[in-house]
Symmetry: C2
Subunit: 366 residues, 2 copies
């Protein structure tokens, strides 16, 4: 184990993963277990792990990862209750800051953290900066869906509770870029989340965004399908669903809540009679495959889009499987050179400042 | 079959159901089939059915309901594409208008319609008027949940895309009243939907509503549990979830979409191998019970709260089961004298106009 950056070993630094081991609800043991699971599938992937060495060194040793992972000591931890504004000013000694700093210093290409979302976003915006043209970065997450690729992208899943029409346009461009990389789709289909598919429905900024996204589809390299509804999040009407971070966050947690309720009720139902128990045993292979298909932990990683480097936010309550999924996603994105592709797409497709729509004032809507 | 109102038969008019047979996606045949299913469970319930007599009379005859149901001819139909503003001005000859008018004229106690939500709300507000103190009526819907009663109430499910802090307070009072009647809960627990449970999270109006609802809990006869998240909609943290109609509508359709996706994937999984097919057969009783427990059609009826009379909006795409569930809900509410109870609760618990919080201006938030 060494404190030196992996550059000394000759690894291409943009492929190095910078992982914050602290700050999740389940503590560093879960993060290290998730990392171990990931490294079993992708051995040799270079990783810098940030946190209290005194806690992390024994955990790495237990998983036999002492030599495989570079440990970077950080004395403090951002908690779920810390306000982002406080952490940005006073958080320089935290593991989260250290994980971001490694990417800022070009020692690594991607950050992964289970910590406080607001703090991670605030720090990332301060230290990694926003891409040219981006006002509010967004969190993109994956939904199990009826589409061929099995997943849809939704953004914003909760980076910012507001989004005006220009933000929604940028969400569309970023989401399409992400879907292109993650799903290998040449022309992702983009929809704008609303309370109905009729053009006269919804908030004023949605009607303007509807026009903006429609006229930007060609340059953005996507197909715009128009307004979509909540039911299309797990549907096949489009591959990318654009919304503000308040609505997106509620929808995401609602979907997970319903999936978990159904899973629990199904388990209870199958245990109710001897006959149903035998039935469940015979069908156990099929049930396991279904569980894997819709497991929220498998799609657990959210990606911060709109920064100069990629940041992956895992659920605070992620377990080992969830952490491993988030790290796997990080690996995939750096492997594909996603950050550079996204920056290039925004530079091409965004209207110049002079062409932007003026801010919408209340009642000015036709 | 007669065109005379049921008052001529001596029935208590507040218990009469006024049903719009037209305007749903599946046409009047589905509405009449749903009504027939309801009347099998509650024979003798007085019903006025509104729509084109030439279409409805044969349908009623086919179900043997010619004498059980009073038919009220209405030549026109509100379509899903009609704008509410247009319908309010030009809709006097529609079945929806006729159904509302029967309640306005005290021939019936409750309206049921599968038609255009915006039009139904606009007409209802015009003809039935809002309760004293209510600015924006709301649609309350039921979620399958982990609570003992098996369901949670959420409002607003989409009556109005906006809600300020005073509207959210009134939603809390109305939702608690509805849960008290529907679930027989002495002290329903109310939560306010947000993107986190921490007090510093969320939009400005949510922070003000958080205070208002907390201080009104005693007079409103409910327990306020504070902020809740999307995962609590099907959870057991509270019985009533308060939100604006945009967020609520997206959450509702998201939950239904996820439930339908899982049901379809489960069916596919169980058909995949001979072993899983046998297993599914043995467990079929358990699976049927589960399906019934979470079937969105069973909780299909939304209730307009905040008007002088109760209006039930069924899904536009409701099938026979969904229509029957909405009519059953209407029956339960008039049976319990719900409208009068709600009016009395609002009169007691709402602050007088002079005590209302002033409108929130941007940036005025501490």
């Amino acid at each position: 184990m060494t404190d030196a950056g992996p550059t000394s070993t000759g690894v291409e630094t943009s492929r190095v993963l910078s992982i914050d081991a602290m700050g999740g609800d389940n503590g560093p043991a879960t993060v290290v277990a998730g990392l171990a699971r990931f490294l079993k599938k992708k051995p040799g992937t270079p990783v810098i792990l940030h946190g209290r060495s005194s806690e992390l060194a024994p955990l790495l040793a237990r998983h036999g990862l002492t030599d495989a992972v570079t440990l970077r000591d950080a004395a403090d931890v951002v908690t779920m209750h810390d306000k982002p504004s406080h952490v940005v000013r006073h958080g320089k000694t935290t593991s989260m800051w250290s994980a971001i700093e490694a990417v800022r210093d070009n020692e690594a290409g991607v950050v992964v953290s289970c910590g406080n979302t607001g703090a991670l976003m605030a720090m990332s915006m301060l230290r990694l900066r926003k891409l040219e043209g981006v006002n509010r970065p967004a969190i993109a997450c994956l939904w199990p869906s009826r589409n061929r690729q099995g997943f849809n992208v939704m953004l914003d899943a909760g980076a910012d509770i507001r989004a005006d029409q220009d933000d929604l346009l940028i969400h569309a461009l970023m989401g399409a870029s992400y879907a292109r990389t993650a799903f290998d789709l040449a022309q992702p289909r983009v929809g704008l989340l609303n309370v109905g598919t009729e053009e006269h429905k919804g908030r004023a900024e949605l009607k303007v965004a509807h026009e903006l996204i429609g006229t930007s589809a060609d340059k953005g390299g996507f197909v715009y399908v128009g307004f979509v509804e909540g039911g299309d999040l797990p549907g096949d009407a489009c591959d990318v669903i654009v919304t503000d971070g308040f609505t997106g966050n509620v929808a995401l947690k609602t979907g997970e809540g319903i999936a978990n309720l159904i899973a629990d009720l199904l388990r209870d139902a199958l245990r109710r009679t001897p006959l149903s128990m035998i039935g469940a045993l015979l069908a156990s292979g099929a049930l396991r495959a279904l569980k894997k298909r819709i497991d929220p932990r498998r799609v657990n990683g959210g990606v911060f889009l709109g920064l100069t480097r990629t940041v992956i936010k895992s659920h605070g309550s992620a377990d080992e499987t969830g952490v491993a999924a988030a790290i796997m996603l990080a690996h995939r994105l750096v492997d594909q050179g996603f950050s550079d592709k996204l920056a290039a797409r925004l530079a091409t497709a965004l209207p110049h400042d002079a062409d932007r729509t003026p801010p919408l004032t209340d009642g000015a809507q036709p």
